[in-house]
């Protein structure tokens, strides 16, 4: 990237009293990227996003978003759009009223705000009445309105914190189509999620655990580099704890995945023996992000 990054973070640390929520992280996001932040609850994703949006004061480190730093809060906030994990629309106002207020907050003229609202509601696929009170809308529709409100002022960088939490699978699908459309418009989209399948959609992802970034790369690269050893998937007979068995026999490392086991084989000979012993029928598996995540997070412990 030879142009200035959209988001630049250097040695960011955020502490709440004795608790370190974000521990010395650094990364950069380029223009037009869909950048994913992956991690379990409490890993520090939301805290990081809030600091990037100027809503939290970091304990130390540097932040630059769309060319502005948190020391110029009004400049920074003018250039970003933020959709919070919490529901931040007013439940007792209608869709129109919420969007009108979002426009007023950005000092857009009512005419501008109205035009943008219509465009965005169209863009997001919102299909309910605009005079409906927000609390009467289903979850997916609310997210559509929330997104419209967050990008009403056409920001360059968009932060989405768990935008599809608690939403139906179909709505999630639609929402990601939306995100892809926004990225095509050359907007930088910064998403946090704990859904692995969503993370696959990102250009690059950062894996976060206990306040640290434990991996940062494209999903494909991550899957390639995290597993040097081949990966197998198998069913196991009842009563067989493959994790223990794999460890004891030295065959490798096994993780449960639903009813199956996914095993990273470090010792092929031991593995063959184990399969023969326990009558396993393994077949090779392609590493997924979930595997990567479990391995890296597990390794950190």
């Amino acid at each position: 990237m030879n142009e200035t990054p959209s988001v630049l973070v250097k040695n960011l640390t955020i502490r709440f009293g004795a608790f370190t929520a974000v521990d010395d992280i650094s990364f950069s996001v380029g223009k037009g990227e869909i950048f994913g932040f992956l991690g379990a609850n409490g890993a520090g994703k939301t805290t990081t996003i809030r600091a990037l949006c100027g809503l939290l004061t970091p304990s130390s480190g540097e932040i630059s978003v769309a060319g502005a730093t948190p020391l110029e809060p009004e400049l920074l906030k003018a250039r970003i759009g933020y959709m919070s994990q919490r529901f931040t629309l007013y439940p007792d106002l209608t869709v129109d009223e919420n969007l009108a207020f979002a426009g007023a907050l950005r000092k857009m003229t009512p005419g501008q705000a109205k035009k943008r609202s219509e465009e965005l509601l169209d863009f997001t696929g919102f299909s309910f009445g605009r005079a409906k009170l927000v609390r009467e809308l289903p979850g997916g529709a609310r997210q559509q309105v929330a997104l419209a409100a967050a990008v009403l002022h056409d920001p360059q960088v968009i932060f989405l914190d768990e935008p599809t939490a608690g939403v139906s699978a179909q709505a999630r699908e639609q929402f990601w189509a939306l995100i892809r459309r926004m990225a095509k418009q050359d907007k930088t989209v910064f998403v946090t999620t704990h859904y692995m399948d969503e993370a696959e959609e990102c250009g690059r992802i950062a894996l976060m655990s206990a306040g640290k970034i434990i991996a940062l790369d494209s999903p494909a690269n991550l899957e390639k580099t995290a597993f040097k050893n081949p990966l197998y998937e198998t069913l196991a007979p009842e009563g067989v704890n493959l994790a223990q068995e794999a460890k004891l026999s030295g065959a490798g490392h096994a993780e449960p995945a639903g009813l199956k086991w996914r095993v990273e084989v470090s010792n092929p000979a031991a593995w063959e023996k184990l399969c023969a012993d326990k009558k396993l029928l393994p077949h090779p598996a392609k590493p997924t992000l979930e595997d990567v995540f479990l391995k890296l997070v597990g390794a950190g412990k």
Partner: protein, 368 residues
């Protein structure tokens, strides 16, 4: 200050506040109802004192004194039976007029220094003292008339007494302006303190602080709509005071308007300061209550502020309610002098400036 921004805030706050039917009731009807109830109910005069008479059945003069007492309007009859102490204990009677034990009143009045005895329930000592004064007068007058010569103290005929502003000594004229202040204060402070705290609690605070706005802009947007609501209550309250209680407005209306505007602005500012301390609605409510309750008590609504010992007088001086009550009573009842008006108004304005400054300084557009 962006006009679009302010207009947006006004629309949102007013829509939210007025959409709920119960809120509308609370903001507009309740103050009027409260004013009505308290204006009528809170009487500071001594009335309806339950007076029982203990004495010989044939004591005609005693009965005459009693009748005179009942006719005066201060006392009403009460039955006690023989055990008058129990009657006082149970509240059936408040006072007992006892005639002499060894003769009728007429017989003993020239021989005893004090032939009549008044036994009072002095729990409410102010009331007791006042009704003692009344009873003494009544008894003296009745006895003087009976005997044809003065037993009563010589009335200082050289002295005339004139009562200004409220010759009928009507309670309402005194209480209504005070209740106006009370009612207005409760509405504005609570509404304002809760408004910001509510946003923090339900999460929409994030929405507001993610927009590129200055502290002043946000605070103005959140609080000015409530100044408007508070001001909307002023004509309603004034209307009740006029139509129902016939409280005069002897001073100019513009003074009333200015005083109300500054007061509402002050209470809204205080509500805002409170909300900067509160993380959620419950804290906002408690904090506003902890401020309001002593403020009401030290405002002159219920007790004279002049009696506060000097060590604590400062509490009254920093209490905007005290100034507003003084202003209301002064403007409405006395057509107060301009100098006094300006002084009280300035004190309130100074307090509101302090509150605004504190709010702007304390307000953080941060979640931590």
């Amino acid at each position: 200050m962006s006009f679009i921004l302010l207009k947006g805030f006004f629309k949102k706050e007013l829509t939210q506040a007025l959409r709920d039917k119960r809120m509308r009731l609370l903001i507009f009807a309740l103050p009027a109802i409260q004013l009505t109830i308290f204006g009528f109910a809170l009487k500071t005069e001594v009335r309806n004192v339950r007076l029982a008479v203990q004495g010989r059945a044939d004591d005609a003069l005693l009965q005459r004194v009693a009748r005179r007492a009942y006719a005066s309007g201060y006392f009403v009859p009460a039955e006690t039976g023989a055990d008058w102490l129990a009657a006082l204990r149970s509240g059936k009677a408040e006072a007992v007029l006892a005639g002499p034990v060894n003769g009728t009143l007429a017989e003993r009045m020239d021989r005893d220094a004090a032939p009549l005895q008044l036994l009072l329930d002095a729990s409410n000592m102010q009331r007791a003292q006042q009704l003692e004064t009344y009873m003494a007068q009544i008894a003296a007058q009745e006895l003087a008339e009976y005997s044809g010569h003065g037993r009563a103290p010589p009335a200082p005929s050289k002295i005339s007494v004139r009562v200004l502003y409220n010759p009928a000594l009507d309670s309402a004229i005194f209480m209504v302006p005070a209740v106006m202040c009370l009612v207005l204060c409760v509405i504005t402070i609570i509404l304002t303190a809760m408004a910001l705290a509510r946003e923090k609690e339900i999460g929409t605070f994030e929405t507001i602080i993610s927009a590129p706005l200055s502290n002043t802009e946000i605070l103005s947007g959140k609080t000015l709509p409530y100044v408007l609501i508070g001001l909307a209550d002023v004509p309603i309250i004034l209307g009740v005071a006029e139509l129902l209680f016939r409280v005069p407005i002897r001073g100019p209306l513009w003074e009333l308007g200015a005083a109300s505007a500054v007061f509402v602005f002050t209470t809204v500012a205080i509500g805002t300061v409170i909300s900067t301390f509160a993380k959620n609605q419950q804290q906002a409510m408690m904090a506003s209550f902890l401020f309001m309750f002593p403020a009401i008590l030290l405002s002159g609504v219920m007790f004279p502020v002049e009696n506060i010992p000097d060590a604590f007088k400062i509490l009254a001086h920093i209490n905007p309610l005290k100034y507003f009550v003084t202003l209301l009573r002064g403007i409405m009842l006395k057509d107060m002098a301009l100098q006094s008006f300006v002084f009280n108004l300035s004190c309130m304005a100074a307090l509101s400036a302090a509150a605004v400054a504190m709010a702007v300084l304390r307000f953080r557009q941060k979640l931590n």
